[in-house]
Symmetry: C2
DNA sequence: TAATACTATACCGGTTCGGTATGAAAAGGG
DNA sequence: CCCTTTTCATACCGAACCGGTATAGTATTA
């Protein structure tokens, strides 16, 4: 019951790009260095974010990655699904055949988990990266004062 | 981001026992058969539920398993933690060293996930097996009418 | 003491995880 | 046109986990 490392990295990358002027192109090298992510692994992550339509990539000598969507249009859930596919805490919520009792709307456990899952999705959707970036900027401002 | 098969089975076993008169001892064979769970695998599951203090086991010729706690004292979360250990959607919520940025209360992503996680825990804790069993019994009653 | 249950541990094939390697393709500069 | 710098696409690798099985042992009772 845990998000994987790639997703964790994904959060930080999107947050990092959200804190930069919109449209900034940053190379994988730089992102990896600043966020302490293995370069090769980061490339893999960036490709998934790009396939999911959250970022876009530029090849060539001045290439790199930039946000495609605006930070306020990207939620935590967007990053999770980009990295791990659709979120479904119980298997039979996704695919009836997976359920050991073929009980899609018949068993009480299923219905209860369905509600919990919906809350989870709502919670993850409610958090968008414009707000996270704002928090992050505010904190940097504080540190500057010290 | 998915509960595993063993947990799914665990839910059904506890629900099954909750629907029976309190203290009933049912053998692994019978549980496995009725709930369509591979017998050997069920033994593994029962041992974890027993170690977690949700059920107790009886050896010998009339042996089997029974609930140790009352259904109203067992929540979905209890079963999940019995089967999978502590629920922690993000690694750095559990262990600072796991966080790629060592940011336990410093990064905005962390704080947001912390809130989402708390909601998830609350949701899972709110559902107890007495209510699930009641739902289940009501449904069987309906089917009897048909 | 034999039968029936659970206990403990280990194994097994398959998949995922976290990360690396390699080679190709695009873009721009000289 | 070639060279460098970047991303792209695949494939690989060891370790861990998943779902399940096997085996040998221990407790209980008839």
């Amino acid at each position: 019951m845990q998000l994987n490392q790639a997703t964790d990295y994904g959060f930080r990358v999107v947050l990092y790009l959200s804190c930069r002027p919109p449209g900034s192109i940053i190379s994988g090298q730089v992102i990896a260095q600043e966020q302490r992510i293995p370069v090769r692994f980061l490339q893999k992550i960036m490709r998934q974010l790009t396939l999911a339509g959250l970022t876009r990539s530029y090849r060539g000598i001045e290439g790199g990655f930039a946000l495609l969507k605006a930070p306020q249009e990207i939620s935590l859930l967007d990053v999770v699904t980009a990295m791990e596919g659709p979120v479904s805490i119980q298997r039979c919520l996704e695919d009836t055949a997976e359920c050991s009792r073929q009980c899609v709307n018949h068993c009480s456990v299923h219905r209860a988990l369905d509600r919990v899952q919906q809350e989870l999705l709502d919670g993850l959707t409610a958090v968008t990266f414009d707000r996270l970036a704002a928090e992050e900027m505010a904190k940097k401002e504080e540190n500057k004062d010290e």
